[in-house]
Structure formats: structure tokens, C-alpha cells
Symmetry: C2
Subunit: 271 residues, 2 copies
């Protein structure tokens, strides 16, 4: 379906947009089923947090209604919202009257091999590290060159994802996924206060695990944690949960807690 | 004058451009006088380095001829080239056949107060730090949220620029300038191998200083270096050199070496 800009069909945007000039904006990639956006409140919440932290004065209720209308037209697939600070004259200071720009794009759901979810995946060991910037950590902002560089490191389709460390060597996340470890029944995922994207599926799985009485920990993850993990899996708001079978010289079985959380993710995405 | 995209007049670009989606590209801001781009070879060189490091397969000779043609039409002012990796389908991996996109915008030369160059400027102390990412350091890439955040920290026009440290506390650069210190006749500027933009005026001033037999040092700069500096100045390829009079509780006179290098910059920009 055609893209929308500020609610109207459009395939192009002005060259003066600050999203282009500086990556000055945010995005959300939202699964859509039967005309409904999935994990919708969590996507809206992360976007609002991003607007607040970047001081982008966007009308959140307008964004909500526009996303609902776009999803209804899309039917099934994935919709991507890019929200920029709007147009600029010259220089990093925003124009005083800049109006944020809402760009909506729809596409078919990505055709991942079913084996990724069923048998699990292998992870490439990315050399590109995530730099540490607390002011941007957790946000799904438009400055994504580190992910572009990391994704360009491998072409071999034997690797479904790549795992990234920060510049201090902590295990942080996949290029387009969050990572979870399970050790003695406790669910562990990386602290994202220095870098990384706080995924909405990550947040949802943490919340659901707590409701089920599963222990959760959000803290720094070191290589030793990977070595000692009983199970490892990835999460993402479009594909749900993929078990991880191998990374570098490490291997894991697809374990029961991974399957349980995968079922939860599936239920959320198979409306 | 109208903008050009890939050599043709155009004011809009496709919403699928990776410059918008990920900040996946580079830019150059080039002063133009009497139809001629200034410091042209250095701008082209930095751009080519950026293309090489980001693996953007752009036609450098086409870029050169297009910039020359655009400058000739602009006459006097500033031209900005944004070079993106081109269009994307979905995901961080580039589309195999993606063609880089060249976006050219022209504007009048910025009207900085003449006092900035004559009497010198005062620097705001930015709290936003530069994250350390050797893979991107030195490049003028499109991931500029740190500069946007830093520039938003002050509105008081008493500060012409803001000074930024990296996350380890080293003094790196201004938001849109490089910084130089002079101590006992030696010219000192920050090592930019972890973060920062390697300005073309910075490179030119270092080269000219060496030719004049002035000692130069490119190394980490700490607060103590600022305290002990005899002179401090900023450089940028559009305004040239601004003496720095004050920063935090520190003050400096406008010294003779600053004036000498300012004259050199002026000669380069006043074709």
C-alpha cells in the first residue's frame, strides 16, 4: 500500500527533513494482523519515551489514531513509523516552528524460515561494537550506522542474526533482536542503560515472566554468563522468539522455558 | 537555488532512502565563493574516506563534477552534499542493487556576527558527551543525534559554540567546529580516533602550520591542557577561525598564533 506522510498518501519527503540530515527522529516497526497493530500500547509507550527524551513535540494521540487507520488499511504485515523532528534551515539547532513529520510505510510480513522458530538459530559474532551513550540508550532512534555495519559483516544465511557487544565487551543484543539467557530457571537479559534498543517484545516477555512467577534479572551480561546459560533465545516484536542453538564455540539445547515464552510470544502475535 | 538529486533539480526524495531510515550516509558542507568550492580537494578526500569506511560505492568523479556544476550555479554561499547508500527494502542489510543517492542543497553564507572572528567567542560547556566508536570516528556521517542534543543545551547567544567531551572526559571538539590549543608555540588538537569529526579546516591548518615550521601535536586533550593553554581557537570550513576567549571559569587572550592561523584560514576562504 502507499506510504503516508502526516496522514496523506505520499512517497517522497522534503530534502530538508532532519531525519535525513541528522537521523533526528525515532521509529517503530509494528506487526499488524487482521487490521490490528500488535503490542500496540508498548510501541506507543516507547515512542512517547523517545519523544520526551529527544524533546520532539509530537501529538501522541494523533500518532495513535493514524497508526490505527493505517493498520486497518494494511490488514496483515508490518507497518513502520518514522517520526522526525521535521524540517530544518541550517545547523543542529531545530527551527523554532519545526513540526514533527510522521512517515508510515507498510509491507508484507517478512518470510523468515519456519526453522528459525522451530529448531532455533545460530548467531554470527559481530566485531562491530555498540558505543556507550546513556542519553540515547534504549531508544529506537534513527542513528543506526552501528547496526548497518554489524549487519554487513556476514552474508552466510547459516546465521539468522548477529550478536553485538558494547565497547566494554558486555553482551548487549542482536542486530535486530534482544537476547535472553536462562540459568537455573531465571530469565536474564542485558541492562540497556548505556546502549541497545529496549525492545517491546523484551518488555512484554519480562512482564509476563514476572506474572508467571519466573525469576527475572536485568543486568550486565558477560561472556561467562553465556557459557553458563542453560538456554538462550532472541526476541523481537515481529518474529516473536527464536531459540538460539549456537554462537561462537557455544551450543545450547532448545529448552522448556524458551518454548514457554515462545508460546506466549506466538499468542501475542497470532491475534 | 533549487536542490539537486542525482544531478537533477528536485526538492523531495523517496521515503525508502536509507539516509532517512538509518542515517546511512555522509555529508559535506562546503563554502562556495565566486562559483568555486573552497577546500575542495580536502572535502572530496574526506568524503572518499567515508565512502570507503562505510562501503558506500559512490562514483567519486561524478560527485566531483556535480559539486563543481552546482557551485558554479550557486555563486556565493554554502553547498551541502548528503550522500546516502540509496534505497532499502526492509532491514539493515543493504539491497544488493542499491544506488547511492546524491542530494545537493545550496544556501546563503551564514551571517555570523563579525565579533566572533574579531574579538573571539565564549563556549558553552555541553553536558552531552560524545560516545566512543572507532569505526565511525572522524567521519562526517549522518548519525548526528549527539550534536542535536548538545546544541539544544543552550539558547543564550552569548555562547557562539559549545565544547564537547567524550564519555571518558577528554576534550574533543565543538558541536560544529574543531578545537585547537596553543601552548608555548605548539599547536595542539584532539586525537579523533575514537570520536569526533575530522574537519577539513583542521586538516588544512595542521598542514599549513607544519609547512611554516610551527610544532603540531595531535593527541588526547585533558582539562589540564585547557588550563595551561596560552591560546585557544576553533576552526570550521565555513567560518574559518574564531579565537576562544572563555570557557567555564577559564579565559584566554586572543594570541598571535591564533591571529596568524586566522589569516591563513581567511585567505583560504576569501578567494
Amino acid at each position: 500500500m502507499p506510504s503516508w506522510i502526516n496522514g496523506l498518501p505520499a512517497e517522497t519527503l522534503p530534502v530538508t527533513d532532519r531525519g535525513l540530515a541528522y537521523g533526528d527522529g525515532l521509529f517503530e516497526t509494528i506487526a499488524v494482523k487482521a487490521g490490528q497493530p500488535l503490542l500496540f500500547e508498548r510501541h506507543l509507550q516507547r515512542l512517547a519515551t523517545g519523544c520526551s527524551r529527544l524533546a520532539i513535540a509530537a501529538d501522541q494521540s494523533l500518532i495513535r489514531s493514524e497508526l490505527l487507520a493505517f493498520a486497518a488499511q494494511l490488514g496483515d504485515g508490518v507497518m513502520k513509523l518514522i517520526l522526525t523532528r521535521g524540517d530544518s534551515l541550517r545547523g543542529y539547532a531545530p527551527a523554532p516552528m519545526a513540526e514533527p513529520r510522521r512517515i508510515l510505510q507498510g509491507s508484507a510480513a517478512p518470510a523468515y524460515p519456519p526453522a528459525h522458530a522451530e529448531q532455533g538459530v545460530y548467531l554470527f559474532q559481530c566485531l562491530t561494537r555498540l558505543s556507550e551513550q546513556p542519553l540515547l540508550a534504549g531508544l529506537k532512534h534513527l542513528n543506526r550506522l552501528e547496526q548497518v555495519l554489524a549487519r554487513s559483516e556476514w552474508q552466510d544465511s547459516a546465521y539468522a542474526e548477529g550478536l553485538m557487544c558494547d565497547t566494554s565487551g558486555r553482551i548487549i543484543e542482536g542486530v535486530y533482536s534482544n537476547v535472553f539467557l536462562i540459568k537455573e530457571g531465571v530469565l536474564l537479559t542485558a541492562d540497556l542503560s548505556r546502549c541497545g534498543v529496549a525492545g517491546v517484545m523484551r518488555a512484554e516477555l519480562l512482564a509476563q515472566a514476572r506474572m508467571l512467577g519466573i525469576g527475572t534479572e536485568v543486568r550486565d551480561i558477560q561472556w561467562l554468563d553465556l557459557e553458563q546459560a542453560d538456554e538462550v533465545f532472541l526476541s523481537n516484536s515481529v518474529y516473536g522468539v527464536w531459540p538460539v542453538r549456537g554462537f561462537a564455540q557455544l551450543n545450547w539445547p532448545v529448552g522448556p522455558l524458551t518454548r514457554k515464552l515462545q508460546d506466549i510470544a506466538r499468542a501475542l502475535l497470532d491475534v
